[in-house]
Amino acid sequence: MSLTTSLSPEPVKRPRRTRLPPALRAYQYNLLAYKRTWRGSLTTTFLYPVLYLAAMGIGLGHLIDHGSSRAVEGVPYVWFLAPGLLAATAMQIGANESTFPVMAGIKWLKTYLAMLATPLEVTDVLYGHLLWITTRVAVASGVFLAVMAAFHTVPSVWAVAAFPAAVLTGAAFAAPVMAFSATRETDQSFIVLYRFGVVPLFLFSGTFFPIAQLPPWLQVVARGTPLYQGVSLCRDLVLGHPGGWETLAHAGYLLVMLVGGVLAARATYRRRLVQ
């Protein structure tokens, strides 16, 4: 019994180590932990677009379209709505997964602390978690696009490119929110972030109606929001008219947000976890 067999025949033989990058070892934690909840989580991921597209796209769409197939920006309402919701869903998952789970890593389950007692470094912990959140966004975006196709709201093959666009949108939100979460002592501010950050973005970034409907000054604000970039990017791609430099500008905005968020998170994680 005991460890005698493994520890003491001298010289002690150190086990072989894999060459799996450290950040992926941290990632593995989430993968294994997800075993507990994947069924419920996947069901939600599937039902969410089904419910939204059915209720708002078809139900509300009927009212808006008035029998026309070019009612909103030249397409049926549900075509207009679906890519907006795709981007908004990516944002919500990116933001949600970077609040409470980060607090759990630091305070509630202390999974970060357990990792840091091993060869993993703070950046490995951060990148592993961000990669996991990005995975969640990717799965949800993939399912969302499949549901969109089932609702016949994908008129162009360009829609394939909306997948990385949605993933980029989710990751661009995740990184700065992770940076923010690592500075918090309680989960109070997450609710504030949701109510005054995520929800207004969801409603006023062109997800449900063209921002041209807004008063001019609000249009300027809406154009500057990060979700507007994601919504426009996804919509242009799904509807098959990517617009050259404008599309690149949307993607560039999100990319800068992602990189800036990662740099900020590196700093806040280090300040919080290395003392």
């Binding site: 003491s8 086990p15 593995q28 990792m115």
Partner: protein
């Protein structure tokens, strides 16, 4: 140990010179020196706030040093952190187990953090489950386990990478006596297998049982160092006479009996007379007509050293 120098027996596992830790204006560890030899069980004793945990965290490469030098397994924690942590097992004061995962998954994942390959890791996890006497609970979640079981799991987890050095920060705090004895037994086994143990505790009996050598820390400094035997010889007498009077009488009796012992400590509930011949001293007490409610002659313990060095009070 295949990666370390062949003369591992003579190189200290940990060497600290002027080791300092500051948090802002507060100095938690104030220029301490110590050597921990490979293969020994080394203890840090001291009241809460003495700087034990800060010292542990620096050794475990979790907390950057503020001054002095520190070598762990011959490496520099400021430069070789991941490499050192790869050879250390840490049992932190607060468990960092994932309560929602199973016992087995907790061990398995931790091994993966160290980069252990899956197949060998699975075998290793089975061994560790047996070592920690948790085989029957292997596939249950951690949440409902008792404190003792969780502690054993945390220790098993720290061993997953076959570390050369195991750091235990108050390993038995909050455990019942059976759980503590089982845990001590597991630590003896590790020591017999050549693992270096670094232990902090404020249980004197634990330090006396487990540690080959120890230091007593107080207010960030090392107040004394040596083996339990040496410390007792140096800082206490061979025996102690414990006398219990009416609580109000302790101080007066202490003064009256002071010349009968090398040193007298007046505690809130009893008098301690430090002497080399306990029975003779007790006879002398009785022949003076003092009639304690209870009297006891015992050998000096580390607790006496601790009381002497850290000013009696266990700050809890």
């Amino acid at each position: 140990m295949s990666t370390s120098a062949p003369d591992v027996g003579s190189d200290p596992a940990v060497q600290a010179r002027g080791l300092t830790k500051r948090f802002g204006d507060f100095t938690a560890v104030d220029a301490v020196d110590f050597d921990i030899r490979a293969g020994e069980a080394f203890g840090f004793l001291g009241p809460n706030g003495a700087g034990k945990t800060s010292t542990m965290r620096m050794i475990a490469c979790l907390s950057p040093i503020s001054g002095g030098t520190l070598r762990v397994l011959g490496l520099d924690p400021m430069r070789d952190g991941p490499q050192i942590r790869g050879r250390i097992g840490l049992v932190p004061q607060d468990d960092t187990l994932d309560l929602e995962l199973t016992v087995r998954d907790n061990l398995y994942l931790y091994g993966r953090y160290f980069g252990l390959p899956k197949k060998e890791l699975r075998e290793r996890v089975d061994q560790l489950l047996e070592f920690a006497r948790l085989s029957e609970r292997a596939d249950e979640r951690v949440d409902p386990l008792s404190g003792g079981m969780r502690r054993r799991l945390t220790i098993a987890r720290a061993l997953v990478s076959s570390p050369d050095l195991v750091i235990l920060d108050e390993p038995t705090t909050g455990l019942d006596p059976q759980a503590r004895h089982l845990l001590w037994d597991r630590l003896y086994r590790l020591k017999r297998e050549g693992v270096t143990l670094v232990i902090t505790t404020h249980y004197m009996d634990e330090a006396e049982q487990l540690c080959d050598r120890l230091v007593v820390m107080d207010a960030g400094c090392i107040a004394a160092a040596g083996s339990p035997r040496e410390l007792i010889e140096q800082w206490s007498t061979r025996e102690v006479v414990e006398l219990r009077f009416d609580p109000e009488g302790n101080e007066a009796h202490g003064q009256r009996l002071a010349d009968l012992a090398e040193r007298v400590e007046v505690l809130p509930d009893r008098l301690l007379l430090y002497t080399d011949e306990g029975d003779a001293t007790l006879d002398a007490v009785k022949s003076r007509g003092a009639s304690p409610i209870a009297a006891l002659v015992r050998r000096s313990t580390l607790e006496d050293v601790f009381l002497h060095l850290t000013g009696r009070s266990l700050v809890d």
